[in-house]
């Protein structure tokens, strides 16, 4: 087994077994449960179509995925630096680039666990409606690209900052900037600038793609531009992480 796969396996095992991750997954499951119960007990929400309910649930999953990408990405190097374990990590036979990509592997693994946890909820709210399987597929695709982009940028920041607090601060600001168009109303996002922001923001691209597939039943060929933009962000971030990882210091 190569050193890279050993490290990825170690990171993933830690991810499942660490109490921090356990609490996060419990929190994620609890949040999805609360929302699912709200969907049937709240009079207004209970009238939603299954597709609309799936879309809203997917939005929560994407927000949680972004959160996990930011938290784990920021912790990647800055956390090790804070805990004074980065030096030990550098003693492993892996290159610094290999370390960075192993850390990104852990972020992706967490996303996969979160995605697996969300499937029963999506199925419960959407099985009697339209587009359940396409919506699960598109959530997986957009979520993976978003986690790659956000996790990669958080890891890059984490490699260059002295403390976990600074890495978290910067990553959270990046997330807030990316997520802020979502709080604008749909009418504001229909203006010229709103449309541009909607198109260049990867978080909004993910939301709009899910909306388009789940609610509007539009085909995958219709989503290519938005998916392409998200993939471009992911590739740019991977390149940036590759460049930055060569210069990680203790």
């Amino acid at each position: 087994m190569s050193s890279l796969s050993v490290l990825i396996k170690k990171e993933c095992t830690e991810d499942i077994l660490s109490s921090r991750s356990i609490y996060f997954f419990l929190f994620a499951s609890g949040l999805m449960s609360i929302f699912a119960v709200l969907l049937i007990t709240n009079r207004e929400l209970s009238l939603l179509d299954n597709a609309q309910a799936v879309y809203k649930m997917s939005t929560i999953v994407l927000a949680l995925a972004s959160l996990v990408a930011i938290l784990q990405g920021s912790d990647g190097f800055a956390g090790e630096r804070d805990r004074e374990t980065l030096e030990i990590l550098f003693l492993s036979p892996l290159s610094r680039k290999g370390l960075a990509f192993a850390k990104l592997g852990r972020v992706l693994f967490s996303w996969l666990v979160l995605f697996a946890l969300s499937i029963p909820y999506l199925s419960a709210v959407g099985s009697t409606g339209q587009n359940l399987w396409p919506s699960i597929f598109i959530l997986f695709t957009t979520g993976t690209l978003l986690v790659l982009a956000l996790g990669g940028i958080s890891l890059t920041v984490s490699a260059r900052t002295a403390t976990l607090k600074s890495a978290l601060f910067i990553s959270v600001i990046v997330f807030l900037i990316l997520g802020s168009p979502a709080v604008l109303g749909a009418s504001l996002r229909q203006t010229g600038i709103g449309k541009i922001i909607d198109m260049v923001d990867p978080f909004m691209d993910a939301l709009n793609t899910i909306d388009s597939v789940v609610i509007d039943s539009q085909g995958f060929d219709f989503q290519l531009l938005r998916l392409g933009i998200m993939a471009l962000y992911a590739l740019m971030v991977l390149w940036l992480l590759n460049v930055t990882s060569r210069r990680i210091r203790l």
């Binding site: 449960s33 207004e44 009238l47 939603l48 299954n50 946890l117 029963p120 909820y121 709210v125």
Partner: protein, 180 residues
């Protein structure tokens, strides 16, 4: 007996007089108001639009008219006014001026919250007139729509966190005993 006949006669005369007064009031009002039922079957969760038309059939321009919607439940045994706030409906509209012959058309949208029998009417108030003008009551049925099923959601919403809690509990116990 004569007393009874007389009282009935007086009652008939009073009703006739009141009816003719009402017809007179209706006929003399320059405002006509109509409300139209949206096409198709209505189901819970739909957001139909009832089209209202206020016409000035008089000779003078009418100013500052207030138009408002009223919704009532006609469900047998549950007849009552319905709070439009719950139905996300627009409550009132102001018309600044309505020239002779002009028709003001407006779509009154609402979200159908509950199944049942309902009636909706449009009322126009002219500040210079004593009586409000009310459209005919438009009755409509809202059919029940199967949406989210509690029997599918509750097992997942309760089952998954409980299963995770048990699973993680086992992991934590195993960690404390040094088996993981």
């Amino acid at each position: 007996m004569i007393k009874g006949i007389l009282s009935n006669l007086i009652l008939v005369m009073a009703v006739t007089l009141f009816s003719s007064y009402t017809v007179l009031a209706k006929d003399t009002s320059p405002i006509q108001v109509k409300l139209q039922h949206p096409a198709g079957t209505l189901r819970m969760g739909d957001t139909p639009k009832f089209t209202g038309a206020v016409t000035n059939s008089g000779q003078q321009t009418l100013r500052r008219l207030i138009v408002y919607l009223s919704l009532v439940s006609l469900e047998p045994g549950n007849e009552r006014p319905v709070d439009l706030e719950d139905w996300s409906a627009q409550k009132a509209l102001g018309i600044d001026s309505l020239s002779p012959g002009q028709v003001n058309t407006h779509d009154w949208g609402m979200r159908l919250i509950q199944a049942g029998k309902y009636g909706v009417a449009l009322t126009v108030i002219d500040p210079t007139e004593k009586k409000p003008i009310v459209s005919d009551l438009v009755p409509f049925d809202v059919k029940r729509k199967p949406t989210l099923s509690a029997s599918r959601i509750f097992p997942v919403a309760i089952g998954e966190p409980v299963t995770l809690l048990m699973l993680f509990g086992v992991i934590l116990i195993a960690q404390r005993r040094g088996r993981l």
